[in-house]
Amino acid sequence: MISALRTLGYRTVMLLEHLGHMAAFVGEIGLNLVRPPFRFGRLVMETFDVGVLSLAIVCLSGATVGAVLGLQGYNTLTRFGAEGSLGAVVGLTLVRELGPVFTALLVTGRAGSAMAAEIASMVTTEQLDGLRMMSIDPIDFVVTPKALAMVLVMPMLNALFILFAFFGGYVIGVQLLGVDGGTYVTSLENAITFEDDVAGTLLKSVVFGLLVGIIATYRGYTAEPTSAGVSAATTGTVVTASVTILIFDYVITALWGV
C-alpha cells in the first residue's frame, strides 16, 4: 500500500517536473521570437526543409483521401438521390476535419520525426554543446527556427492537402461516377463559408503546427545522448504528437464548433 502510494507520488512529481521543463522550454522559444537576433535565413531554410519533406506525401495522400471520400460519399448519397450534394459533403468533411488532422498526422510522421531525430543526434554528437561553447544558445539557433517553421508550413500543407482532395473527389465523383461537374463545384462553393470553415481549418492547422513543432523539438532537445535516445525521441514524437493532435482536434471542434 505504502509502496503503491510512493510510486504514485514519484510518478506525479516526475510528471510535474516534466511539464515544468516543457513550459520553460516553450517560454524560451517565445522569448527568442521577440528577442534579437532574428534568424530569418535559418527560418526560411527550415521552412523549405519541412515543406519539401512533406510535399509529396501530403499531395498524394490528399488525392487518395479525396478519391475515397468521393466514392463513399457517392455510394451513401445516391441511396437518398442526393448525389448532387457530393461536393458539399467532400468539401465540408475535408475543410473542417480531415484536412487539418490528416495533414498534421502526415507531417508528424514525415517532418516531425525527422526534426526530433536531427536535434537528438545533434545532442548525441555534442553539436548543441559545441554551440553553447561558442556562446550560441541552441534554443535560439536550432530549436526556434524549426518550431516556427512547423507553424508556418502546416496551414500551407493543409491547404494543399484539401486542394488535392477536392481534385481526387472530383475525378472519382465527376469523371468516374458521372456526377455533374458544375453541380459538384457549386455545391462545394455554397457549403463552405469563410468565417466558419476556412477560418476554422486555419486555426486548427496553426494549433497543430505549434503542437508538432514544440513536441518534436522538445523530444529531440531532451533526448538521451545515445542511439537509443535518438530512436526514443523519434518514436516518442510520433506517438505523443499524434495523440495530442486528436485530443486538441476534439477540443477545438467542441469549443469553436469548427
Binding site: 554528437t125 555534442e126 561553447m133 561558442m134 550560441i136
Partner: protein, 259 residues
C-alpha cells in the same frame, strides 16, 4: 585564487546516480600553461572539462574561471563567460549541416562585427594554420578523423580565446596526426600564451606537452610536473604509468616507472 591560476576547482563533489565521480576534488590550472588530465576510463576527465566549461554543475564545490565563480551563473551569464573559452570536443562537434568554412566562420558571424570579406580571410588563415587549406567547401562528413579534429581546432581558436579546453584530441588518431595536433597545440600555447587543459590517454605526447599533469584517481586529483609524477611513490600513479608504459622502449629507464 592567485592571479597565476586561470581555473580553480575547490571541494568538488559530483555523483551520477549512485556512482560518485569526485570526492572533494581540488585542482588549479595555471595561466599560460598546458595541463594534461590523465586517468583511467570513467575517472571523470571529460566530466571535469564540462564542469570548467559550465556545461555541467557540481553537486557541491566551487569552479572559478578567470576570477569568476561560475557554478551559480545563469545560462545567459555562462554564454558571456564562455567567450573566454574555446573547446575542442572529442568528436569535433562541427555542425554537420554546414560546410567547414561556415563552421569556422560561425563564432565570428555571431560575435564579431567583421565584414564578410574579413571573416573569409580570417577563416582561411585559421584553416591554413591547422594545415587544412582549401577544405572550406567540404562538409564535415567528408573529412577524416584527423582533419575533423583540426577543423574543430580552427573553430575553437578563431575568436582568440584565453583558455582552450581539449577533450581527447589524440584518441583514435594515427601517430602522424597525433604529432601534428600536438605540435599545433604547443605552438598555440607558445605563440598566444593560451592556457590549455587537455585530457589524454596518450602518455608520450602528454609528457612532451604538459607543464602540469593531473591524475584523476579515486575521485580526487594528484597534481605535479611530469618529472614529479614519473618519480612519484604514490602506488596508484605508478600503477597507471606502468600499465601505460608496459613494453614501451625508453621508459624502463625512467625512475619509478621501471617495470
Amino acid at each position: 585564487m592567485s592571479e597565476a591560476d586561470r581555473i580553480q576547482l575547490e571541494g568538488i563533489h559530483l555523483a551520477f546516480g549512485s556512482r560518485q565521480v569526485y570526492r572533494n576534488l581540488d585542482c588549479r590550472f595555471p595561466r599560460g600553461e598546458i595541463s594534461v588530465l590523465m586517468g583511467g576510463s570513467g575517472a571523470g576527465k571529460s566530466t571535469l572539462l564540462r564542469l570548467m566549461a559550465g556545461l555541467l554543475r557540481p553537486d557541491r564545490g566551487r569552479v572559478v574561471v578567470a576570477g569568476e565563480e561560475i557554478t551559480s551563473l545563469s545560462e545567459r551569464d555562462l554564454f558571456r563567460m564562455r567567450e573566454r573559452i574555446g573547446m575542442l570536443f572529442q568528436g569535433g562537434a562541427l555542425l554537420d549541416a554546414m560546410t567547414v568554412f561556415e563552421n569556422v566562420a560561425l563564432p565570428l558571424r555571431e560575435h564579431s562585427r567583421l565584414s564578410e570579406t574579413d571573416i573569409r580571410a580570417e577563416v582561411e588563415r585559421r584553416l591554413v594554420a591547422v594545415g587544412l587549406p582549401d577544405t572550406g567547401g567540404l562538409m564535415p562528413r567528408e573529412l577524416s578523423g584527423g582533419m575533423l579534429r583540426r577543423a574543430a581546432l580552427a573553430r575553437a581558436i578563431v575568436t582568440d580565446p584565453e583558455i582552450l579546453i581539449c577533450d581527447e584530441p589524440f584518441s583514435g588518431l594515427d601517430p602522424l596526426n597525433v604529432r601534428r595536433i600536438e605540435a599545433l597545440l604547443i605552438e598555440l600555447n607558445r605563440r598566444l600564451g593560451l592556457t590549455m587543459i587537455v585530457t589524454s590517454h596518450h602518455l608520450p605526447s602528454s609528457l612532451r606537452m604538459a607543464s602540469q599533469l593531473v591524475f584523476l584517481i579515486d575521485g580526487g586529483a594528484v597534481v605535479g610536473t611530469p618529472r614529479e609524477l614519473l618519480a612519484s611513490e604514490d602506488p596508484r600513479v605508478r600503477e597507471f604509468l606502468e600499465a601505460e608504459t608496459a613494453g614501451m622502449p625508453g621508459f624502463e629507464a625512467v625512475p619509478g616507472v621501471a617495470s
